[in-house]
Symmetry: C2
Amino acid sequence: MALKVIHDPHELQAYTLSLFREGKTVGFVPTMGYLHEGHLSLFRCARRENDVVVASIFVNPTQFGPGEDFERYPRDPQGDKEKAESEGVDVLFMPRAEDLYPLDFQTFVEVERLTRGLCGAFRPGHFRGVTTVVTKLLMLAFPTRAYFGRKDFQQWRVIEQMVRDLHLPVEIVSCPIVREPDGLAMSSRNVYLSPEERQSALSLYRSLRKAEALFREGETRPQVYEQAIRTILESAPHLKKIDYIAIVDGLTLEPVDRVERGTLIALAAHVGPARLIDNWWVGVDSLDLPS
Amino acid sequence: MALKVIHDPHELQAYTLSLFREGKTVGFVPTMGYLHEGHLSLFRCARRENDVVVASIFVNPTQFGPGEDFERYPRDPQGDKEKAESEGVDVLFMPRAEDLYPLDFQTFVEVERLTRGLCGAFRPGHFRGVTTVVTKLLMLAFPTRAYFGRKDFQQWRVIEQMVRDLHLPVEIVSCPIVREPDGLAMSSRNVYLSPEERQSALSLYRSLRKAEALFREGETRPQVYEQAIRTILESAPHLKKIDYIAIVDGLTLEPVDRVERGTLIALAAHVGPARLIDNWWVGVDSLDLPS
């Protein structure tokens, strides 16, 4: 069927609840738009596994902190519609901010332990904004399955925990990071990078390749990984600040004593005007990062 | 049909989602048990308006503060089952605490402005516990309508706000306070009162009757109500502490300059070992409180 664009939250919910009643499965992909191949891979996964695919495009103000890039976050609604339609998305939900956050809005969903480290430590309130809007979107899209990319690994784990804790009747599916041919993890924020900065941004990917090489050599000491990664990142000319190099358990996101299958190596760094993240999930992501 | 008791959250959710699919309406009454006529009035209301009635009994630890009465809160599961069955409840959900709050539980739902005043100011964290467990229970019981008594007026308003903010697909219905023949608002906590304390507890009701009399005389000044109520409460021998005498808008719960239709007069006071609350919703509750 042709892509249907819905702006009104009530209209979406009435539609998706009727699909639920009819026994139709719904795959849902929440996004902030400016769609790239990472998003499209989620659409394709949702398309394969469900009767109906719903995607949302909403640059959610509550997950941006003061001084972050809410205003300049890239937007391309027309291009997004075309991409969604060509990937077989059935419904594109594009709510207005005032419909999701009316003046008397005052309810927040918060996940505690899992949001303390990694990005949570550097972006206070970020995950509270994410979990709040995702709860709202899950109630409106009322999907059988919702799809999240593992570039935002912590976000995926936080949402999975929230869904379990609140008994939201949805299955959370995560999909692997999609990379540019040179290895840079796809991100709408890559558009912030000048060609020179983009070269520096590759240092995140290169440091994960180095981690992979260490793992193949049998290295298990987190501090060896951390130092090797830091050396590579710090040699990149436009790399302004490392937020973290985290070597943690992929489920609890707590630091590990030993790198092994299930360990997550996660990075966040500021390159030029962009804050970038990337990660490698040891033994789950392919042992061969694309070369 | 005979009362069915369900302990397992997943079993309840599978059942209620199947009812939803079949187009059956479900009325849900969440309680902490030790059922009294107030609860039973909610069961009857749910029974009249829905195909299936689900009630829950769960003394929710997260809504009690340190030093509050979680441990001694009265419990009577056998009596509750009999009362629920005789009122036509179809399903009684009695979860175990460890099934609602497993060790890795860490997600909370919080309503901001509406929880600042009244009981929220005296019971830090209370409403966070309430909104968290009610979200969980609404997801498990997945009702068409959920019923709340207006003795807990602020709780009802907070839940209504939460449901709207998170787009939970349920209608919140509130029902009037049910009183003992002498006017005392029904509460499971009334069991804490000795006969003498119970006499003192009637001062809450008597002060609301006085407020009603003032309103009939055309009085509009909040401070006149406040003083009249305070005088009556302070004359009661076992009244240990007034938490608040609130004269607020019934929707925003913000203090009003003028008492009129829609104003809420709400009280909280400690009588002997019990913290009691009561209220009168001017022009909505009958202008004749039972004499």
